[in-house]
């Protein structure tokens, strides 16, 4: 049998593989270019440009002004409060999300669809309504307000209200991420684990959790991002007491309305940086466990 030289150039050689280029199933180059350009343009205008403007505005009067704006006690208090709200809301919603996803993906029970709808509720109601709910419940004239006041518990216009509102708004993220994942994975591996003698908690730790950890991570990151960025619900319950009940987004608005642009954008830049850190952690974990991830996904 004679040897054929490798096909040169785009000319169709007699033994060229059937799918040498995807010209047959792909788009013409012009369309591809247009799609890429459109995407980049959109990203540039709606994402990169605003982001760049945040940092340029924050540093408009030099680094010293930027640093002193951040060192302002009110700004520091806002940062602390935001981190606190996230630090309480994210772990709680992680536990809740895993439990809810587990219940929904693994068990059949009456009212399951109703439960799924309930989990989606914070997504479908306006955050402002979410805030108002807490005012109605814990406010001075609310159902539990007088009782709370009698016991010296201050919820509305105080830190607990902010934390509660944050929890409410962010609670679907983890569950929403995990439910479809756990449903599609099925329970076979868990069944295998229990036939091999693993008890509930160890099965969860050794089999369930490793299988859902990437979905869980995405859910937690989304939950965290929203917890730190939430404005509407927190705004209603906060009362805007400077240095006490202002979270970062609220503080940004106040400063902006006071024409303190450097302060407003400096704080906004910190929020943006926190988002970068979140993304960075995610990328790092993916890079670190890349082969494992590929092994799990490739199955």
């Amino acid at each position: 049998m004679s040897r054929h030289p490798p096909p040169a150039g785009p000319a169709p050689a007699p033994f060229a593989p059937l799918v040498q280029t995807n010209a047959a199933i792909g788009e013409p180059p012009a369309v591809r270019l247009a799609l890429i350009a459109l995407t980049l343009l959109f990203l540039g205008v709606f994402l990169l440009l605003p982001l760049a403007s945040v940092f340029t505005q924050a540093l408009a009067k030099g680094f010293h002004a930027y640093a002193s704006a951040l060192a302002d006690p009110d700004a520091l208090s806002a940062i602390r409060l935001t981190l606190l709200a996230a630090a309480v809301a994210v772990p709680l919603n992680t536990v809740f999300g895993v439990a809810a996803a587990w219940a929904i993906a693994r068990f059949q029970f009456r009212g399951k669809n109703f439960l799924i709808t309930l989990i989606d509720l914070p997504f479908s109601v306006s955050p402002v309504i979410a805030g108002l709910i807490y005012v109605l419940v814990f406010g001075a004239h609310g159902w539990l307000g007088p009782w709370a006041a009698a016991h010296g518990i201050k919820v509305i216009f105080a830190v607990p209200g902010i934390v509660l509102a944050t929890i409410f708004v962010t609670f679907p993220f983890v569950a929403r991420e995990l439910i479809p994942l756990m449903q599609s994975q099925g329970a076979e591996e868990e069944y295998a684990a229990i036939t091999l003698g693993a008890r509930g908690w160890r099965m969860f730790w050794h089999v369930t959790l490793p299988n859902i950890r990437w979905g869980l991570l995405y859910g937690v990151l989304l939950c965290n991002a929203r917890a730190m960025g939430e404005f509407g619900a927190v705004s209603v319950v906060s009362g805007h007491i400077r240095g006490l009940t202002n979270t970062m987004p609220l503080q940004v608005e106040i400063l902006y309305n006071d024409f303190q642009f450097v302060g407003a954008f400096a704080l906004a830049s910190v929020l943006a940086l926190l988002a970068f850190v979140t993304l960075g952690v995610k990328s790092f974990l993916e890079w670190r466990h890349g082969d494992e991830l590929a092994a799990v996904r490739g199955h």
Binding site: E188, E189, Y191, A192, A193, I194, T195, L196, G197, A198, R199, R202, H206, V207, P210, N211, E292, A294, A295, V296, G298, H299
Partner: protein
């Protein structure tokens, strides 16, 4: 370990998957649960493992009432149809999982666990692959990892759900032979589920034929194949031809034949269905017990000739297979007249006026005197 199953019932909503199953599984045997999809065979297997809560009945492991035991306490080795290997663990970690999950007091030391897992991997001929992840293995290799993992807990019984269902034909054949040998070497009581009659016949010591939540027949491979207790079992274990026949004067006649093919063996007079497999027919020259037919199609398949014959008595066609006698001799071709009679057959009788509800009232619908050879 002997396993005794008494009256297991399982319902899914309004659907009854198991209707009072009784079964004795003998220690050390290799038992096949054979049936079409929806017959309840997998449900029964999962019920033995405790993975499927049952609505009634009991499972005994030896003298122990397993129905009261949790899945973990039952210590059954279960191999899932799609293996259910732990994707994020290496092969070694998969196999050693059962030992690592033991309570601290019963857990062997680390080195011992590793040694035993490696030993098992050698047993399933996967030595050297212990550091791979399941996604880096072929289907047959995954299957064997799943088996090694199940064996690691020294199970009371090994339960395999369609063990070769997801594999291609060649691998399946090899694995069957290998599993048979492994069973001989290890001696574990093994129950496997299959819908493939060939697999059941080739692999099992005994076969349980299931249909619509009941057991149709339990027996050795020979018993089930040679004397199927119902048309369903006959049908499931090979493509049967149904010939019209009748019982008169204490003998069984093919319809239209002058002489009987067999004694009636206590059957009352009347019509009877004669079931025979393609290979059980003989083409005869002059036999008063035989019936006439005409060859519609002749197809040579290696050493056999497959004939499609139209019967003169009722115009039905039968498929028969006969050995190719000699390449020199002319064989049958379309249009030839042939006389044939079944050499081995089974008799079944439908009670007149009753629908064919095999599963629900099989004992009543059919008088099944069993099957007799000539």
């Amino acid at each position: 370990m002997d396993i005794t199953i008494r009256g297991i019932t399982k319902r899914f909503g309004g659907y009854t998957a198991l209707r009072g199953i009784d079964l004795d599984i003998r220690s050390g045997e290799l038992l096949a649960l054979l049936g079409p999809s929806g017959s309840g065979k997998t449900t029964l297997l999962r019920a033995i493992a405790g993975l499927e809560p049952i609505d009634g009945g009991r499972v005994l492991f030896g003298e122990v009432d397993a129905t009261r035991l949790s899945v973990q306490e039952r210590r059954v080795g279960f191999v899932f149809q799609h293996y259910a290997l732990f994707k994020h663990m290496t092969v070694l970690d998969n196999v050693s999982f059962g030992l690592r999950m033991r309570p601290r007091a019963l857990r062997p030391p680390r080195d011992e666990i590793r040694r035993r897992a490696l030993e098992l991997l050698d047993l399933v001929q996967l030595g050297g692959l212990h550091q791979r992840y399941p996604s880096q293995l072929s289907g047959g290799q995954r299957q064997r990892v799943a088996l090694a993992r199940a064996l690691a807990i020294e199970p009371r019984v090994l339960l395999l759900d369609e063990p070769f269902g997801a594999l291609d034909a060649k691998v399946r054949k090899d694995l069957r032979r290998w599993l048979r040998r492994l069973h001989r070497e290890t001696g574990y009581t093994t129950v496997f589920v299959t819908h493939d009659q060939e697999e059941a016949l080739e692999l099992a010591d005994r076969i349980v034929v299931m249909n619509r939540g009941v057991i149709e027949q339990v027996g050795s491979t020979d018993q089930v194949y040679d004397t199927p207790s119902s048309p369903f079992v006959f049908d499931f274990l090979g493509s049967p031809n149904v010939l019209p026949g009748e019982v008169r004067d204490g003998a069984v006649y093919l319809r239209g034949a002058a002489a009987p093919i067999d004694g009636a063996g206590g059957l009352a007079d009347g019509a009877v269905d004669i079931y025979a497999r393609p290979g059980d027919f003989r083409v005869v020259a002059d036999d008063p017990a035989a019936v006439d037919g005409r060859v519609i199609e002749a197809q040579r398949t290696g050493v056999l000739v497959r004939l499609t014959v139209s019967l003169r008595s009722n115009g039905h066609t039968v498929e028969i297979e006969i050995p190719q006698p000699d390449p020199e001799i002319k064989v049958w071709s379309a249009g030839d007249a042939v006389r044939l009679r079944p050499a081995h057959f089974s008799l079944y009788r439908e009670r007149p006026g009753q629908a064919l509800e095999i599963a629900q009232d099989r004992s009543g619908d059919y008088a099944a005197p069993g099957s007799r050879g000539r």
